[in-house]
Amino acid sequence: MARLDHLESLEAQSVYILREAYRNLGRLGMLWSIGKDSTVLLWLAKKAFFGHCPFPFIHVDTSYKIPEMIEYRDRVAKELGLELIVHRNEEALSDGMGPDRGRLACCKALKTDALASMTKKYGFDGLIVGVRRDEEGSRSKERVFSERDNDDLWDHTHQPPELWGQFKTEFPKGHHIRVHPLLEWTELDVWRYIGREGIPIIDLYFAKGHERYRSLGCAPCTAKIKSDAATVDEIIAELALTKTSERAGRAQDQEDAYAMQKLRQDGYM
């Protein structure tokens, strides 16, 4: 028999990781940012569990998201009958937190801190997150099962060994594991898989009026790119030629050379 092709191998590995997480981590949830990566994750979960989704989906809502994202979120959750948890840092929001207070401060309050309080509130032992190595430097160094301590901190210079598909499943109570099933995927892999599988994704990614979103985030901090790519095929063709980074339109990444490392040490996804 022929070997599995690249996308088949990636799919098989991600399904294996999802099943390890479901089996070995007590209370498990999946972060769903509405973007293409976490929508691919949702699709992979349906494959891993034969059409079922045996854990809740969590949206950390900053209240600044692009409005179409919220509408898409609620529609798909209803269609699929997902158990959806929407969590906001209400305290920071009522205190007027926003990007005008500084982008990194805003990300920390409305994403990192919101995620931490959500994790504690629901007592999650494992959170499945759709980050990929090729997105940015600190993610490139991640483990598939990555431990966070009681304060959600990531000890990035002392990561445990991870070999032969034997992931970190022993950890003290109160810590949790970030599970990264898409770590080995690239942006192009994600698009090719969306194309091959016919996964319906939010149409903000497709060009209208010569521009589109390449990466989705909060409205004030996420810029569109110039593009005429209106289909998955056209996006794949565009990416094959591009020289810019996927997250170039994400303002918080550009604040300082180690902005993402700093955010992620504190618990950012």
Partner: protein, 578 residues
């Protein structure tokens, strides 16, 4: 979510599937691994401008010209110290195929990160600094690659600019490292002289190395042949799902292939059944066969008990059911590995407690010489050890099946060691217990419990009854500290065997899977009453013992066992005579 799409998603996106090769780049600290990879990716235009700009800015900030290594060393700590701390991987393509290039740290302090990066590579490049020659980690990394099962190695002799592109220097390294690799039983596929900093012999042959008749770095990369895939089905059971009416056994095919209708053996239980179906969510994924490394879900004709850690194979090529191993281990733990200490051993999806019986030898990575008599294995050391498992597992010698022949040892919360099985000893027959044909069960049912007057400790003694019972044998129904009824059943969870005692004799010995609750008194392998009053309650507690037994023994015993029903504690006879 349906498969139909409104986004104009079409077909014909995927050109002919391309091959992907995973290659790890290893070697001593400062010999230039990250620089070699950074240069290769840069010269082939594989890095997005944003990442180059960031690396450029970070280089300037540190008062450096452009540091190719910064394309990979993303952590602030790495750039400050100029070393790679943790592993990363980047994809890149040539005309021939796609690559996943894994950068591994070279500093001995980060050996566990090197191992994490290298563990799933298909082949490796070993980078050696031409000016400094073969150093400690050059050899240690080669040794680790051997233990990780990566026998194919190419050697990159970097920094040739520092030795005036000397053919003689290159030849010396080729000889020294070639001998070492040969001693490991590896052998190098190719040796490439180059300079990553000056960009010599990366994509095209260098004028400065006219004597070199071999390939460039790119040529060497494309020249690596992918190894053959492994035969012989191994499907370790990852989980069993009952989300709906289907009972789906989920797992990843680690080697070989299987089809609907195949007769399969499930180890260590030893039962056979037929594959009824391969399950999938989407109709488009429906198929009748699967091969490695697919993640699958199967249903079987017979719905007997099976669980995570079982291995599905074909009958002609079964795994070994072993409770004792000999293995090569490499140690990454803060505390040394010690004889007599208990660890958790995980092999494929199975796990059990394991005790180190003996350290047969420590292997010096520099000389590969074994030394005997060690009582512990320290950080980053390699040793040949003997291991006893608390329960017998289905596994393989690493030489015949990789995925079921390698394991990790967990110490507390941490993966502290890795190892490969060099010898798996088939389970020994029980010395005290019950036997019938190939079935055997260990038993403590007829052992005595005595309380010592002097020490006030309770001790267990095998007594003087014959040790092994077969069908038809009379058993001692009463002793100093126990009294069983004439008719009762014994269930030995750890060996998955049930024994029927009728009228004081062994009436039958059968697999636990074939046993159903008889409504008679029931004891476990130690003679403690098992509290069950129906087939349903029995099945429930049986499954609990089988799946959680090693983890929650005490809690399960509190709930489901009664020590005092047929047993008591007798005063020690020895004390009477004082």
């Amino acid at each position: 979510m349906g498969t139909d799409s409104s986004n104009g998603i079409g077909s014909g996106i995927n050109a002919a599937p391309r091959e992907t090769l995973r290659i790890v780049v290893t070697g001593h600290v400062d010999h230039g691994k990250s620089t070699v990879i950074g240069r290769l990716l840069y010269d082939t235009g594989s890095i997005p401008q944003g990442a180059i700009d960031k690396a450029m800015a970070a280089s300037k900030e540190r008062g450096l010209n452009f540091e190719f290594a910064f394309l990979l060393d993303a952590f602030e700590e790495e750039r400050k110290q100029g070393i790679t701390i943790d592993t990363t991987r980047l994809s890149f393509s040539t005309d021939k195929r796609d690559y996943l290039i894994i950068d591994a740290p070279g500093h001995v302090e980060f050996l566990k990160n090197m191992i994490s990066g290298a563990s799933d590579a298909e082949c490796a490049f070993l980078v050696v600094d031409a000016a400094r020659g073969v150093e400690e980690q050059s050899k240690r990394h080669a040794h680790m690659l051997r233990l990780l099962g990566i026998p194919r190695v190419g050697v990159l002799v970097n920094k040739m600019d520092l030795v005036g592109y000397s053919e003689e220097t290159f030849a010396k390294i080729v000889e020294e490292l070639g001998d070492y690799l040969a001693a490991l039983g590896m052998g190098a596929d190719v040796f490439v002289p180059l300079s990553a900093l000056s960009g010599e012999n990366i994509l095209k042959a260098s004028d400065r190395l006219p004597w070199h008749k071999g390939p460039t770095l790119l040529g060497a990369l494309d020249g690596i042949a992918k190894g053959p895939s492994e035969d012989g089905l191994r499907l370790p059971v990852q989980d069993v799902y009952k989300f709906d009416e289907r009972r789906i056994i989920a797992g990843r095919v680690e080697s070989g292939s299987l089809r609907e209708g195949d007769t399969v053996l499930i180890s260590p239980g030893g039962r056979t059944s037929r594959v009824l179906s391969l399950e999938s969510w989407l109709p488009k994924d429906r198929r009748t066969s699967a091969r490695a490394p697919e993640s699958v879900g199967i249903t079987l004709e017979d719905e007997f008990f099976n669980q995570r850690g079982d291995i599905v194979s074909h009958q002609t090529d079964p795994p070994v059911v072993a409770a004792r191993l000999r293995a090569s281990v490499f140690w990454m733990g803060k505390e040394p590995l010690r004889v007599g200490r208990r660890y958790k051993l995980k092999v494929a999806t199975a796990s059990t407690d394991a005790v180190i019986d003996a350290i047969h030898s420590l292997i010096d990575s520099g000389t590969l010489a074994p030394s005997e008599g060690a009582r512990e294995v320290g950080l980053n050391q390699v040793a040949e050890v003997g291991i006893s498992l608390r329960k017998a597992l289905a596994l393989d010698p690493f030489a015949s099946h990789k995925a079921t022949g390698r394991f990790v040892l967990v110490d507390g919360y941490d993966v502290a060691g890795g190892g490969i099985v060099t010898l798996a000893m088939a389970q020994e027959p029980a010395r005290h217990g019950f036997v019938k044909g190939a079935l055997s069960a260990r038993s403590e049912v007829f052992e005595e419990y005595y309380l010592s007057f002097g020490t006030r400790e309770v001790t267990k003694s095998p007594g003087d009854a014959p040790a092994l019972y077969g069908v038809g044998d009379r058993v001692p129904l009463s002793g100093d500290s126990y009294e069983y009824p004439y008719d009762f059943d014994i269930v030995v969870f750890r060996d998955r065997v049930a024994v029927l005692i009728r009228d004081g004799r062994v009436q039958d010995i059968l697999r636990l899977d074939d046993y159903s609750f008889q409504g008679l008194p029931l004891v476990n392998g130690s003679g403690y009453k098992v509290i069950a009053d129906s087939e349903e309650s029995f099945r429930e507690l049986r499954d609990a013992f089988l799946s959680d037994g090693p983890k929650n023994e005490a809690a399960l015993a509190q709930r489901h066992l009664d020590f005092n029903a047929y047993r008591r504690i007798a005063f020690s006879k020895a004390d009477y005579s004082i």
